[in-house]
Assembly symmetry: C2
Homo-oligomer: 721 residues x 2
């Protein structure tokens, strides 16, 4: 065993200590008055109910998939099978699934407890201390702590789990050491990916089924406002925010984070690395290149902790500025750390290549540079997402103005903005890929993916802060608190919307890069030196792969509609069968609605999820490893575009509505077209169309392309034989 | 010169004789009463005004592009440049542009004259002869004649133009013969593609800008019904039907038709064909494989003429049945003809391959079989389009029912249906490609594309019949004819909607196959033996190519919105400035609205069109031929999916509205939710969203992927050097 694994292990433990500190910090805060506690409890219980059911299904999947993985070498014979599948890979798979589930559990648990505490911090500042500015700061402090629990859990558990897997493989490999069985390690990423599928797709169906159901029956039929306690679906809707944006996003980025490390490790082995001048043998470099991703992740954890601390202990006047400061601090530290670490770990120069294609020289600078390229590309993709979805920029302003032409133009415009938003992120990713390749071959691409994700702790903290602020606002509203309290939470929430848009763009960008890294790792591990576009098998794979994101998305749309319809029936039934709800004399059965959403979410994702799991082995085994490469890249290309389009269309439609609500749109006579105007009605329809696009379909595509790629990587040694 | 060129030349002349006969037949029919003549004249003039302007812009583009093509060998030196570019290629390019323009001009000219004549034939049967069944038959006869003029012009002029280009290249090549300069011939397809870009994208912007503008101001603001003569945009709307569905579809399929022949010819040269047992040298087979596509096209022309005659002279009781009979007859004849022709032309066996990859034996059966595979795949893709968009099947029925949940669910459902509709057509295309490849290597893929398109004459005839029937209905309505007349035209129109949906699916399927054939032809001509997916340059191309259809579509959406907004302003202005319009005392200025649509269409397509033209050379020259291959396949994959999604989403939303209007949707209490219900209002919004999806964006993507591929094919010899 390599003693340098101690560093990532220490960083992981440090992250978990930070989690402990933050949990204690959040729980030490007062929960607010009885009404606030009641609301917070209902959301907590709903979230727990969802997670419980989700984990039961995940367990079933994990057991079945483990059984298949473990049994394959006994029923099928062939060189490479024992290297891809077998109980050892299955064990890593289980560790990955448990790690991701655990992070989700901890993060959700605290996020749903931080909501009323954030409201209470704001309330205390406004009502008790008569110091709204202090209230804002302490509310921000609670919310960011709550978010950071998820962020630090993701990176801490993610990295510790990987170290554990390496230790286990090391023990199982005996004298040969863990480096002799790289295939066994890959199962870890697949486990994280499976949980992410449930969290993202299931969570996405949950949140939008509840949201659309609540809106369609509440606002339209019963004429009661949003977040009204008389609507039985209200709690399910609030639970959904946490399920989608905390657990879903966390699992998604955790998957990318783990996969970029796994892909880099696999590429270190799969590429033909030749000893550099300062080393006597190639294997030394390979091991160092395998360990480097973990060390960079360790650097990223330290950078993220400092970033979170900056937000928490040195908040600026403006919330947005404080969050961005933290993000910049962690990114800057990560860049410096990446250069220092790489310089220490890697030799001056070494080569990658084969006799056929010529050997190319690379150095530590190129490898560190690749990671930096990834950080920059991630920032760019995030920025472009903001540009296309923020009320600050022209696309949304123009859209909001056009809402006056009615709902059809609104939706058409929204789709157009989404489609247009593919341009620059794609160019950024494509150029980053080329540059990273030139810096350090395919290993550079994997490191760029890791670079993008190295400050995941900070990024998830900022993103998970969003739903906490959102829930805090709902809590203030439902508990009829002072207007000043709501102003603070609105301020926090508005920033949360921006960070959510950036986070979504970032999630797609990192998913694309992680999937790309997995794809090249797959090809290297399967020994596929060329997947020729002009081979009909590859083209066949490309076409089918390109179709997958579309078909998968359609199934998710159906699942959301089905869940929403069931929710509507239930809310209607309660209004009919439980007397006194409308008068506020009787309480609706919130738990039943949470149950319906949970059921719809889990059942709705079985078909699309199953499809994502089953297709790669089928394509690979029937049409060969090259067809599978084509399939993966086809899915990657259409998936990235469709994902960007869905996320940004939805984001733009959401914010066009907000822009109108802010009273910033006037007709040609100068009359303000605000809430309740025809333009606003059109914008509401647009927002409802955009909701499943941005919160269900878009994010789920991230998982689709990564899950299919990581399954292929696991199968790679088998397909090589 | 090869004497076997006489056969395609004769078939082309035969097609033009049929055009002459059909034109005489249509023009010999009475035009109806004064009001009908007035309406028909206005549409004719509008269409002419659009074409005139379009052709001016096309001329400018043609001259500029010709100059670039002709000048390149003088300014750039390099092996292969003179073979790709030069005035000889430019000459073919001009012939292609003229051929497509000419076919569009003839077809539109007659289609816009057939409308009132169809109405009059129906009127005579109902009012004069008291024989509605006879009226239906003679109305069908006029409408199909009108459509067949476009159909036969497309194939006749398309094939004659190709023969002309070969003759010209033969003369220019001197003793070496036309076979010595295959690159020069490719310009022909590029010319047809340029015109198709204007006709499809420009036409698509025209038709939907006018349609949305007319609806938004007419129905919503002024409260006047559709097709009302008081709405200044009405004539523009009717012109748009012809511009989009006659000229646009005709140019689109003409492009695919020509490109599949060109691709097969290029592949015959580019592939390494080795002499078969019954021949003494390889070159004999190559020439025969170059000529074969033209001979198959000749067979297809004869088959199409017989098909049209079947509809015209042997109509059944039902319109749909009559049209399908004609289609089946022509397809069956084409299949038989393909086998006979191939058997006569090709030797028993021959081989394609290279020493590296092994040599494979093929025979005439495989080549004829490839064409048949294409015919079957085309039929399947058409069928699946109908399945997802017809009121007869579940997807639309379910959607129509869900319209009761409001506009947001309607649109979401429509998008989901479109996404789902990618599954089977993609699988059909992918399998057809694999089978065709196994039958006859890449040449088989090109022949499958040609097979799909061999009965283009019949297919375009049936499709162009649609807008004629649609216009005839509008004419009957506006001229206040007997209800029985409207029943006949409604009957014809309803069938036209089905054929339009099938035609759209078919256009995408054939575009995909044509683009695929062009892609492999490009690779063969550029001497690119492998475009490795794991090469970063290829991946770079793939990502950017995959983005293109999305960005291109967004630009088209914007162009439609802009055109619609300008139209709205103009209609509003006329209602305000021209007194007496609303009372029917003054006539609006229809020509001005046509002008606005024309302007919006031409200007709106310059940016997306220019992008499509410029990107392939930039990618190819800067990043190399392999990156360009990646770029093309990236665009192909996302383009096919996005195209299918857009076309079928739009079709499904359109027909969901029709299904509701037919009174076939009831709420849970059994109350019919027909015209004017909330469900219907939601469906109208869905239809308006779907309109630009199915009539502007979807069809334009066909052109995008083909245009970029054909430009690459023209550049291929240059990129090889």
């Amino acid at each position: 065993m390599d003693s340098s694994l101690l560093i990532p292990a220490a960083a992981g433990i440090l992250a978990m200590l930070a989690v402990g500190y933050l949990v204690k910090d959040v729980l030490s805060k007062p929960r607010g008055n009885d009404l606030m506690i009641e609301i917070s409890d209902a959301v907590q219980e709903g979230a727990k109910a969802f997670l419980r059911r989700e984990y039961i299904y995940i367990s079933i999947f994990v057991v079945v998939i483990f059984a298949i993985i473990a049994a394959t070498p006994f029923v099928a014979r062939g060189e490479g099978i024992a290297e891809s599948l077998g109980w050892q890979t299955g064990l890593s798979f289980i560790i990955g699934a448990v790690a991701s589930s655990l992070a989700g559990f901890i993060g959700m648990n605290i996020a749903t407890r931080a909501n009323s505490r954030t409201t209470e911090a704001a309330r205390k500042g406004v009502e008790d201390d008569k110091n709204p500015e202090g209230g804002l700061k302490s509310a921000l402090s609670v919310a960011i702590s709550g978010g950071a629990v998820m962020g630090m859990s993701v990176v801490g558990i993610g990295l510790l789990g990987l170290v554990l897997v390496i230790l286990v493989v090391d023990v199982l490999s005996g004298d040969a050491g863990w480096g002799s069985h790289p295939g066994w390690i890959n199962g870890y990423a697949m486990g994280a990916s499976l949980v992410a599928l449930f969290a993202r797709s299931g969570g996405g169906i949950f949140t939008k089924g509840a949201d659309m159901g609540a809106d369609l029956v509440g606002k339209v039929e019963a004429g009661i406002p949003e977040d009204d306690p008389r609507n039985a679906a209200t709690i399910a809707d609030n639970v959904g925010d946490n399920v989608g944006d905390v657990a879903g996003l966390g699992a998604d980025l955790m998957e990318s984070y783990i996969e970029s490390m796994i892909a880099a490790m696999a590429l270190a082995v799969g590429l033909n690395v030749i000893a550099g001048p300062s080393l006597d043998g190639g294997s030394g470099v390979v091991t160092q290149m395998q360990i480097l991703p973990l060390l960079l992740a360790a650097v990223g954890i330290v950078a993220s902790i400092i970033g979170v601390a900056t937000v928490k202990f040195m908040p600026g006047k403006k919330v947005q500025g404080s969050l961005m400061n933290g993000t910049y601090v962690s990114a800057a530290l990560a860049i410096v750390g990446a250069f220092v670490t790489t310089k220490i770990v890697l030799p001056e120069g070494f080569s990658i290549g084969s006799v056929d294609n010529g050997v190319q020289e690379y150095g530590w600078m190129g490898i560190a540079g690749s990671a930096v390229v990834g950080i920059i590309a991630g920032a760019l993709v995030g920025f472009f997402s903001e540009y296309y979805t923020s009320t600050k920029f022209n696309p949304v302003k123009r859209m909001a103005k056009n809402c006056q032409m009615g709902p059809a133009i609104t939706v058409t415009d929204g789709l157009a903005v989404g489609m247009k938003s593919c341009l620059w992120p794609t160019i950024s990713l494509a150029i980053a890929m080329l540059v990273a390749y030139n810096f350090a071959n395919f290993y550079g691409i994997a490191l760029a993916a890791l670079g993008m994700l190295v400050t995941t702790g900070m990024i998830v903290a900022v993103d998970s802060y969003g739903p906490i602020a959102d829930n805090a606002g709902g809590c203030a509203e439902m508990a009829h608190l002072d207007k000043g309290v709501r102003e603070i939470t609105d301020n926090l929430d508005a920033v949360g919307n921006t960070t959510a848009a950036i986070g979504k763009g970032f999630a797609i960008g990192s998913a694309a890069f992680a999937a790309l890294a997995l794809l090249v790792a797959y090809m290297a591990s399967a020994g596929i030196s060329t997947a020729d576009l002009s081979s009909p098998n590859v083209m066949f794979g490309l076409l089918l792969g390109g179709m997958m994101p579309f078909f998968f998305s359609a199934l998710l749309f159906d699942a959301v509609s089905d869940a929403a319809f069931k929710m509507i029936d239930e809310v209607r039934r309660q209004l009919r069968d439980i007397p006194g709800i409308m008068e506020g004399k009787a309480k609706p059965d919130y738990a039943k609605c949470v149950d319906i959403s949970t059921d719809g979410a889990i059942k709705g994702m079985l078909l699309p999820g199953g499809l994502a799991i089953v297709t790669p082995p089928v394509i690979g085994l029937v049409f060969g490893g090259e067809a599978l490469a084509g399939f993966l890249i086809g899915a990657l290309v259409t998936g990235v575009m469709l994902g960007l389009m869905c996320a940004n269309s939805g984001g733009a439609m959401d914010n066009a509505k907000k822009y109108i609500e802010e009273g910033k749109v006037s007709d040609k006579d100068g009359q303000v077209q605000g809430k309740g105007s025809e333009a606003h009605k059109a914008a509401v329809i647009g927002d409802t169309v955009g909701d499943p696009l941005k919160d269900t379909v878009g994010p789920s595509i991230n998982i689709l392309i990564k899950l299919m790629a990581v399954i292929s990587l696991v199968l790679a040694p088998m397909l090589a034989s």
